[in-house]
């Protein structure tokens, strides 16, 4: 059991989340955006685990378990979409997917 205070990990998670969010906003490749989303998910996971330790509650870890399952499903479907889009457009750039503009 570590002696490091929870706030350290929480700040680390917040920074990780920020980097992930910045990546989603600035990178155009759908693949990189997915990776950044994974970063953000992991930031959240880290937070959950930190609170599970602080609160001595295994529920936090269970939630992370479920988040991972959902993330796996999301990546599977998401990459399927990327592949399907790439077949049509030969590009993974989300900036070119503007059919739904007003």
């Amino acid at each position: 059991m570590t002696t490091i205070p929870a706030s350290w990990y929480l700040v680390l998670a917040a920074v990780l989340f920020g980097i992930g969010a910045f990546g989603v906003l600035t990178r155009r490749s759908a693949l990189i955006m997915f990776m950044c989303i994974e970063l953000m998910l992991n930031a959240v996971n880290l937070t959950f685990v930190t609170f599970a330790r602080t609160m001595s509650d295994i529920g936090g870890q269970t939630t992370v378990f479920f988040i991972m399952v959902v993330a796996a499903a999301e990546v599977t479907v998401g990459l399927g979409i990327v592949v399907a889009v790439f077949r049509r457009r030969s590009s993974t750039s989300v900036d070119e997917l503007t059919e739904l503009q007003g």
């Binding site: 969010a21 989603v24 906003l25 989300v94 997917l97 503007t98 739904l100 503009q101 007003g102």
Partner: protein
């Protein structure tokens, strides 16, 4: 008896429905036969009903058909009132209608809308009979509107002509104004007597205060002026001559236009309550008779002359009603129906023979060419001019005698009108049948041809009726006269009958003198003249500038208002509001749609910035 009255109504309705349902599968000939025979059957039934009524003791039979409206205290049955007045009206309406239907089968032959014409004509007869037979004001109003609608359709029968279309509209609008009067009278009566059935109203006249009674009478008068073409609503009738001539004869001379007089006579027990109201009626009638007669002296269109003559003659009837001589009014109405129908149908025959020409300046010398029309028209002319012993003399004499007993001034006006009547009719007669043959240009040198027998037969019958019509109500045959027959239905009889025989003879001589003066003057002036600015005053020719006055006082201001509404209110306010809303929505949409660029990263940035705002807010709150 009781079951006969509905039959009178049923036959014309049946004819209307038969022609309507069978549509184009009927030949013109079959349509004309059906339409004429149903009206003829209606006439036969009317005669039987009349004979039965003569032997009926009560002479007032109500035939209930069904309950029509029953709301709270308002009970309006669909019921018929068979009494001397309504049966008299039925007799002459169906009789004249039969003749005119017969005449029309030939006159309208070859018309494109032959079927439609008889459809309307049958519907008109049905409506007119509903009007006269109804036992309450509401049902009368149904007939009243029915004849108005048929009149509108028939006036604008040649609706592809602008003049006919606008004449129809004019007739319709003038009649609407009159209808408001009738409606107001109904409202007032229901307010105070809580019933609209004639007999119930008459039995509860005590509920009407003098003021209310006067208001009711004036409202009824307004209704009558609309329908019967009296001042101030008289000038739709001349325009109504745009309709086919049989229509002018039937609707705009013999039957429908007398509906106003009928209504006033029917409501005579209410009229009895208001002497000022009756005085107003008498003045309106007398003035209308005079004004219309002056206008008739200056018209060039043969049908226009007859139209103003009709207005003038109805003026006499209204005058008679005003002085309480209801019997005289109905007497004149019946005889007028005979001789005016005769004159109109005769003029129709003339117009027919000249291929549609109505201008009297292009007629003349037709006596030789129309061997049947000429003598019958001659009789009609003498009748309306008031030459004894024709019906017009007796009827007009009856009216004038009663007026003399009531008001000398109005009597004088009536006598002057009688002179004018004889004058303008003689002018018409001379210009049409005498003098040189000015029609060659119109007929392209063909000789005019006499109309077929189907058209001349009604002329002959009507001529006989015009000659013998006076027998209905001879002044000395009090026991068996029309007035005596009708008198139970009148609530008030003028206290005039008791005049000395000498005075009556004197008045009759005045009438004869008036007629002869008119005849003589017309022959002197018009024997060799076709146009005479001296005797055809533009003021008279243009209907006393009546239309111009309406145009200036009502037409133009209302048109201007309409223009303001359509140009300013409509375009700026209403369209502006609607289009402004649309434009602002579209503009804001144009702006907002830029946000929907379809760029996922922009959307994500918006989300992040939203979260940022929330976080900043929370930080601010915590601090």
């Amino acid at each position: 008896m009781a079951h006969l009255a509905p039959l009178i109504l049923t036959f014309p309705l049946l004819g209307f429905l038969l022609v309507l349902v069978n549509g184009r599968s009927l030949s013109d000939r079959a349509t004309g036969t059906i339409a004429t025979s149903v009206v003829g059957l209606s006439f036969v039934v009317s005669v039987i009903a009349f004979v039965l009524l003569l032997h009926d003791k009560s002479r007032e039979v109500t035939v209930n058909l069904f309950t029509w409206i029953s709301v709270d205290t308002l009970h309006v049955p669909a019921a018929l009132l068979v009494d001397p007045l309504s049966i008299t009206m039925c007799l002459f309406v169906t009789g004249i209608s039969t003749l005119i239907h017969l005449y029309s089968t030939a006159y309208m032959a070859g018309e494109k809308d032959f079927r439609k014409f008889f459809l309307y004509l049958n519907l008109f007869v049905f409506s007119m009979l509903t009007l006269v037979l109804a036992n309450n004001l509401v049902l009368t109003f149904v007939g009243w509107e029915g004849v108005g609608a048929c009149s509108y359709w028939l006036v604008s029968f040649y609706f592809d002509r602008d003049s006919a279309a606008s004449a129809g509209k004019k007739a319709f609008i003038y009649n609407r104004v009159g209808d408001v009067g009738l409606l107001l009278a109904m409202f007032l009566l229901f307010e105070h007597t809580h019933t609209l059935t004639y007999l119930s109203i008459f039995s509860s006249t005590s509920a009407l205060s003098p003021t209310v009674a006067t208001l009711v009478v004036l409202a009824l008068l307004l209704g009558a002026t609309g329908k019967s073409a009296q001042i101030p609503l008289f000038n739709w009738l001349p325009d109504a001559m745009e309709g086919p001539t049989p229509v002018s004869a039937l609707i705009h001379a013999a039957t429908m236009v007398t509906a106003g007089v009928f209504l006033l006579v029917r409501m005579s027990p209410v009229l009895a309550l208001s002497s000022s109201g009756r005085m107003t009626i008498a003045v309106i009638g007398g003035v209308t008779a005079f004004v219309a007669a002056t206008i008739a002296t200056a018209q060039k269109d043969i049908k226009k002359v007859l139209a103003f003559s009709t207005v003038s003659q109805i003026g006499y009837m209204v005058l008679a009603v005003g002085v309480g001589a209801y019997g005289a009014a109905i007497f004149l109405m019946v005889s007028h129906a005979f001789f005016k129908a005769l004159l109109f149908l005769g003029s129709g025959s003339v117009i027919h023979s000249l291929g549609g020409e109505q201008d009297m300046r292009k007629m003349g010398g037709l006596a030789k060419w129309l061997p049947l029309t000429f003598p019958t028209f001659l009789i009609g002319w003498l009748t309306i001019s008031g030459v004894p012993p024709f019906a017009g003399f007796w009827a007009k004499g009856d009216v004038l005698t009663n007026v003399f007993a009531h008001n000398k001034l109005l009597w004088a006006l009536g006598v002057v009108t009688a002179i004018l009547t004889a004058y303008y009719m003689s002018r018409l007669f001379v210009l049409t049948f005498r003098g040189g043959e000015r029609f060659r240009e119109v007929t392209h040198d063909h000789d005019p041809h006499e109309s077929p027998l189907v058209m001349t037969a009604p002329l002959l019958i009507l001529a006989v009726l015009s000659v013998l019509g006076g027998l209905l109500d001879l002044p000395w045959a009090h026991g068996f006269s029309l007035s005596h027959f009708l008198s139970p239905t009148f609530g008030y009889v003028a206290p005039s009958a008791a005049q000395s025989t000498g005075l009556q003879t004197g008045l009759a001589l005045v009438d004869v003198a008036a007629a002869l003066i008119g005849l003589f003057a017309a022959f002197t002036i018009w024997r060799n003249t076709v146009e005479s600015p001296t005797f055809e005053k533009p003021f008279f020719e243009h209907v006393w500038r009546w239309d111009d006055a309406y145009d200036a006082t009502l037409g133009r201001p209302l048109t201007a208002l309409a223009h303001v509404t359509s140009d300013v209110v409509e375009t700026r306010v209403i369209d502006g509001a609607v289009e402004g809303i649309g434009a602002s929505v579209r503009r804001s949409g144009e702006g907002i749609r830029k946000l929907q660029a379809g760029l996922v990263r922009q959307y994500a940035l918006a989300m992040v910035l939203g979260v940022t705002v929330i976080v900043v807010y929370l930080v601010g709150r915590v601090r």
